[in-house]
């Protein structure tokens, strides 16, 4: 476990030290910071304040009779937390676990949930003005978990609505 942490941390820190400052000059004080995760070629953004840690993938214990996107549970230093597969939540396909696969541990309403992503890219500052509500048209899978989209130059970030993840269980 500790080895995992040590390996995962530098990456996180490196990302934090690279503040993606190209937004700096036009941004006022209302900047949002996001952890940018990759699933396939899609970029997902998770509010940095919710992220507790980013770990390498560990052995996940499957829990029977749960929705497909519930990958199972993991042992996080003595705490058992559920792990969701963000790929399945957003209806994306493909990809096996690789050495880049990460579990992003987020705290949602004082509870910890792990999110499996293909890789973690960086921490990005995004001005609030660049964030738009999710597109109302279209029936994108996982639309209910989208808080909004962030447009930065030609990048399109999908903002993950963490509080919705908790409701997902009931909806399933």
């Amino acid at each position: 476990m500790s080895a995992t942490d040590q390996q995962a941390k530098p990456q996180y820190q490196a990302a934090a030290e690279n503040p993606a400052d190209r937004l700096g000059e036009k941004a006022g004080d209302d900047l949002c910071q996001f952890v940018i995760c990759l699933i396939g070629s899609e970029e997902f953004a998770v509010d940095v304040l919710s992220v507790q840690e980013i770990n390498r993938i560990v052995e996940v214990t499957r829990v029977p009779k749960t929705p497909p996107y519930v990958e199972g549970v993991i042992n996080l230093r003595g705490r058992i937390i559920p792990v969701l597969d963000l790929r399945k939540l957003f209806g994306l396909t493909g990809a096996q676990q690789t050495t880049h696969t990460r579990i992003v541990v987020v705290s949602v309403q004082a509870r910890l949930v792990g999110l499996i992503v293909d890789s973690v890219e960086e921490v990005l500052r995004v001005p609030r003005s660049a964030i738009e509500p999710p597109p109302s048209v279209g029936t994108m899978a996982g639309a209910e978990f989208t808080q909004g989209v962030g447009r930065i130059d030609d990048r399109l970030l999908i903002l993950v609505d963490l509080s919705r993840l908790l409701l997902a269980r009931e909806a399933a």
């Binding site: 829990v63 519930v70 549970v73 042992n75 003595g78 705490r79 058992i80 269980r169």
Partner: protein
């Protein structure tokens, strides 16, 4: 005073002291924020509940004062009176009197030593609208009436010498003299009177008595010696209150420690096997053995801090039984046994409601009216017995009534009518199994909905609650003779013994308390009856559950040999088919929080010595599921 009474008293004192401490602060806040009705309500409630408890315990002086205080607070909160510093002062003085009374109760067990008339009069004046501005403030309204010559002294049963120092901390000389029979009460009173009229410096009481030849010098020495020897009553309680949350976190940490120990022991054992001759390894294993011992002791000690006598849960029953039997015109005699049996607080917290429900049911549905009973040749008074005892690692609570019993035919008819069970299935069920149908959701035998019981939400909720804490509930009944409900609870819900089993490389833990035995079988031993897979085990037909199928675990190949873990749920047994048996381990139950709480067949999870998460099976749920399957005609 009986131990029980003393305990109730201690609880009362602890609670009241906490309340008083809070009250002081609240009043001060109130003074600066007089229109805060929330605050007023809070203070009112505190005073009110203290009065209630005091009344219950028969502390009339305290009730007197608290009642008046409450009246004023009521007027304040209803806006009939404005909060003014003068009123606050008087109320604070009231609180002081109450504190003095509390000290008196702690020390002597009664509340008669503190004079309350002055404060009561002051409070009455305020209530009656006499302006409080002229009223004396805290000092004058102080609880103590130092004058000895006030009339009622002689009436009080306590030695009047104590009147001199109402909230004293040790018995006075006069008191000792009277109690020891060295001087009469009148002699001491006279001497005290004399002392009172003296100008300062006053002669000590002993000397006055000596001069009056009321006592001998020797008696005085004896009394003085005794007074010196009197232990000062401890101001603090011998107990401290700790938030359950803190205990929980200690318990959690101990759980982690247990896991760490398990892991260390595993490594140690491996080392020992590989490097038997290495002296360092031997030292290591000795150290581990020591650690093992200490950890076990620590675990036990922490568990004990969370233990409560079941008396706390039982305490509310007598009153309930009384009220209920009166309401229903029944006569019920309640007998409680094994009240000293201890169980974990978390278990105690959960068992209260189910217990109340079951007792209600017993009185409402079980025990007949006196006329009905006499017609059956039973004594008019019904007998309800609640007995708790510890049996091995569980607490067993038995609720017996000698009522009309549970009509099996009615249960059958109802279960069929509600579609809870099929006719074919009913035919295969034993008497006990049929009885236990009343625990199914949506089942209620009461024809009329009363406000006592019978809303049809009862029994299944009872069972769900009991299962939540890894307990079980079972029912026996003999028509006309009565029923017995047996509740089995774990001593603690945090740590259990479990059997680790393996199915297709997945490991699961089965609570050992539900395991009867494990047998090795080959594929050909499995027979099918009515589409059910069963095993003939020593003349018994054992229904089988395949864990792999139950949990949709993909199976690679059909194995030739299996293990069957025979698990029991009440009288019902079921065989759980697994691939391998791994080990028996002590596991710490961790919740897999509400996100996954609804997973059927899993009651929790634990972390093994290797740090892996292993799910703990909910045996009772599995048995239920198996039944549901079969009744749906799905072949296993």
């Amino acid at each position: 005073m009986s131990d029980e009474m003393q305990e109730i008293l201690n609880d009362f004192l602890t609670e009241s002291n906490e309340m008083l401490e809070v009250l002081d602060q609240r009043f001060v806040t109130l003074e600066s924020d007089p229109n805060n009705t929330d605050l007023l309500n809070e203070i009112f409630r505190a005073m009110h509940s203290m009065k209630g408890s005091a009344g219950f315990l028969g502390f009339n002086h305290l009730v007197n004062v608290a009642h008046r205080g409450e009246n004023i607070l009521n007027k304040l909160r209803q806006g009939e009176m404005a909060v003014s510093p003068a009123i606050i002062s008087v109320i604070l003085a009231t609180v002081d009197v109450i504190k003095a009374i509390m000290a008196d109760i702690r020390e002597s067990g009664t509340d008669t030593h503190v004079a309350t008339d002055a404060i009561a009069a002051t409070l009455d004046d305020i209530i009656n609208g006499k302006t409080s501005a002229a009223m004396p403030t805290a000092a004058a309204a102080a609880p103590v009436q130092p004058k000895v010559e006030t009339a009622p002294i002689a009436d009080t049963a306590v030695p009047s010498a104590s009147q001199v120092l109402p909230a004293h901390t040790a018995p006075t000389l006069g008191e000792i003299l009277v109690n020891e029979g060295l001087a009469s009460k009148d002699q001491v009173l006279d001497a005290l009177n004399a002392q009172q009229h003296q100008a300062d410096p006053k002669t000590p009481l002993g000397e006055i008595l000596l001069q009056a030849k009321a006592i001998t010098e020797r008696a005085l020495d004896q009394a003085l010696h005794k007074q010196e020897k009197q232990p000062k009553p401890a101001e603090e309680d011998a107990t401290i209150r700790v938030e359950t949350k803190r205990l929980d976190s200690v318990m959690n940490l101990v759980g982690e420690l247990v896991l760490g120990r398990n892991r260390l022991i595993k490594i140690g054992t491996q080392l020992e096997q590989n490097h038997e001759s290495d002296p360092q390894v031997r030292v290591l294993s000795e150290t581990l053995a020591q650690l093992n011992l200490v950890t076990t002791d620590l675990q036990l000690a922490v568990m004990k801090t969370r233990m409560l006598p079941i008396k706390k849960v039982f305490a509310k029953l007598p009153r309930m039984v009384r009220d209920l039997s009166q309401k229903l015109n029944k006569q019920v005699r309640l007998e409680m046994r094994g009240e000293e049996t201890e169980l974990d607080k978390s278990v105690a917290d959960e068992i209260g409601d189910p217990l109340v429900h079951l007792v209600r049911n017993a009185i409402d549905h079980g025990i007949e009216t006196p006329a009905e009973r006499q017609a059956k040749g039973k004594p008019g008074e019904g007998q309800l017995t609640i007995a708790a005892s510890q049996e091995g690692n569980s607490i067993v609570i038995r609720i017996n009534d000698d009522g009309r019993g549970i009509p099996v035919d009615k249960i059958k008819a109802k279960a069929l009518a509600k579609g809870l069970i099929s006719e074919a299935e009913l035919a295969t069920m034993e008497h006990r199994e049929v009885l236990n149908l009343i625990f199914l959701p949506g089942f209620s035998t009461a024809e009329h909905v009363t406000d006592v019981s019978g809303r049809g939400v009862g029994m299944d909720v009872v069972r769900t609650n009991i299962r939540k804490i890894n307990g079980s509930v079972d029912l026996e009944s003999e028509p006309g003779k009565g029923s017995q409900i047996i509740i089995k609870l774990p001593l603690t819900i945090a740590i259990i013994q479990a059997l680790m089993v393996e199915v297709e490389q997945s490991i699961f833990a089965i609570p050992l308390s539900t395991v009867i035995e494990a047998v090795r079988i080959s594929r050909t031993d499995i027979k099918t009856i009515n589409g059910r897979e069963v095993l003939h085990l020593r003349d018994r037909v054992l229904p089988l559950i395949r864990l792999a199928q139950e949990f949709d675990i993909p199976t690679n190949s059909e194995r030739e040999r299996f293990y069957v873990v025979v698990a029991a749920l009440g009288d019902r047994r079921v065989g759980v088919v697994v691939d391998e048996l791994r080990s028996q381990e002590e596991v710490v139950i961790k919740s897999i929080w509400d996100y996954l709480e609804t997973v059927k067949g899993v009651s929790g999870a634990t972390i093994t010595g290797e740090g892996k998460v292993v799910l703990i099976l909910d045996t009772s749920e599995l048995v239920q599921n198996a039944r549901a399957w079969h009744s749906n005609g799905v072949a296993v």
